[in-house]
């Protein structure tokens, strides 16, 4: 994690996102305070990915506010990262993908190479660092995307369904990596459909349904006694839309 004043908390007030006349998300209020692993749960179309994109700054709210502790846009960009459900890798080697991200963040020369080598080692990708990124397996690609994000030492890492398209073994390795990144001090905000994964690694749950935040609770409480009928139905597998 980058040293210096924290960019957290992230505070959303009356957050709304709509396209044309269709409201896809909100109004939502929440506050993301500090480290830990926050899991954003909800059925398809609940607005989970939208919420992440809004928080990460890839989308602008239609109304309401999303405020970090700092308003310095460059600082905000430097201190957060995002990994998407399908890894978007550049057409170059695995190592070059990591070094490219570091270069965008101002890392130069030997420092950049050393940092890239370090994260590739930590993520178990060092031996395939010189292979074409797009020739890697889906699991390796997703770990590379995580390695690239981790190399930037983000204070907050947004993960959008990071295990959605992976087989169980690859998903397990990605999960271990997420836990390791979280343990290094990076706050994780992750969307998933995988209740077992959420139960295993979540500290806190935000439960969305039809674009609204229905419940926010510590993960243990959420899974032991969901507080809303929607969350109860979702956990029983009865809330699909």
């Amino acid at each position: 994690m980058t040293a210096g004043a924290s960019i957290l908390p992230l505070v959303a007030r009356g957050l709304v996102y709509q396209v044309g006349g269709d409201r896809l998300l909100g109004p939502i209020d929440f506050e993301l305070e500090g480290s830990g692993r926050t899991i954003v749960l909800g059925p398809n179309g609940a607005g989970k990915s939208l919420l992440l994109r809004l928080a990460h700054g890839l989308l602008a709210p239609s109304s309401g506010t999303l405020e970090w502790r700092t308003s310095d846009a460059a600082e905000l960009r430097r201190r957060q990262a995002m990994v998407f459900d399908r890894a978007v890798l550049l057409r170059r080697s695995a190592r070059a993908n990591v070094e490219y991200a570091l270069a965008l963040h101002g890392s130069r020369g030997a420092e950049r190479r050393a940092r890239a080598a370090h994260v590739l080692e930590r993520t178990g990708l060092a031996r395939i660092g010189d292979r074409a990124a797009r020739a890697l397996s889906a699991g390796e690609q997703q770990r590379l995307a995580l390695a690239r994000a981790w190399a930037l030492r983000p204070e907050v890492l947004f993960l959008d369904e990071p295990t959605a398209s992976l087989d169980p073994a690859a998903a397990r390795r990605v999960e271990e990596l997420i836990v390791e990144i979280g343990s290094s001090g990076t706050a994780i905000v992750m969307t998933t459909h995988d209740l077992a994964l959420a139960r295993r690694i979540g500290d806190e749950v935000l439960f969305l349904h039809l674009g609204l935040l229905k419940e926010r609770a510590p993960a243990a409480d959420f899974f032991a006694a969901p507080g809303t009928p929607e969350a109860q139905a979702f956990q029983r597998g009865e809330l699909t839309w």
Binding site: V88, L90, R92, A96, Y100, A101, H105, A133, R148
Partner: protein
């Protein structure tokens, strides 16, 4: 039929014997079209990439205009360049008319829209795939452009090749601004036209064979290069 086989036989003799007149014409064609292509790539690729990435008022109209310019008639381009370079034109003082430089200018005008328009489509497709990730990593559109051009290099090579094909096979513009002067501005297409009219089918055929061979050679080269680079990255 007999005349045709005779012409073929003579054409092959010219080719196998590396006839100096033939080589001179081929060499000038490659220099003119190669230079035009280089300049068109330097200008057209960034324009195409910028149109794909930047959002601004009038962008749609610019794309439509660029696409329309792909179909520029060579004789009209030749005429316009002729007017600009002629004694009454604004660039008369450069004295470029009936020189290879004038032919380069004409081909540059002709193929830059092709390179720009086709590369815009290639980069736009790539941008739709990369945009969120590059923005997430903190890349501005300006910083994304070289990344997109590099990652799209295989497809862009084909785009550039299309521009070269158009340039080297073009006759209308270069004959107007070059004048088809022997040993000065005579290129393959203008020579083929002249020799055919004169009835010297052997040289015309030989040049035609070279033109076809060039096309095959470039395509094969690009294909090999693409496969090699795809394996590496």
């Amino acid at each position: 039929m007999n005349e045709l086989s005779q012409a073929f036989s003579t054409a092959l003799t010219l080719l196998v014997g590396l006839d100096s007149g033939l080589l001179e014409i081929v060499g000038l064609s490659l220099r003119v079209s190669g230079t035009a292509l280089l300049l068109a790539s330097v200008v057209g690729l960034p324009i195409g990439a910028a149109l794909a990435v930047y959002r601004f008022r009038g962008r749609g109209a610019a794309v439509v205009a660029l696409n329309a310019l792909m179909g520029l008639p060579p004789v009209v381009v030749g005429l316009l360049v002729y007017l600009v370079l002629s004694r009454e034109g604004p660039l008369a003082s450069l004295a470029l008319l009936f020189t290879p430089s004038a032919m380069v200018i004409a081909q540059f005008v002709l193929i830059t829209p092709i390179v720009a328009a086709l590369s815009r489509q290639v980069v736009a497709d790539l941008w739709s795939e990369y945009e969120e990730q590059l923005r997430s990593l903190g890349a501005t559109p300006g910083r994304a452009l070289p990344t997109l051009l590099w990652d799209g290099r295989h497809s862009l090579l084909t785009t550039v090749l299309a521009g070269f094909g158009r340039a080297v096979a073009e006759v209308g513009a270069v004959i107007i601004v070059g004048g088809n002067i022997a040993h000065v501005t005579r290129v393959m297409t203008t020579a083929i036209q002249l020799e055919t009219r004169k009835g010297d089918l052997a040289l015309a055929l030989a040049l035609g064979i070279v033109l076809l061979f060039l096309s095959l050679l470039i395509n094969a080269g690009v294909s090999l290069l693409t496969r090699a680079t795809e394996r590496r990255a």
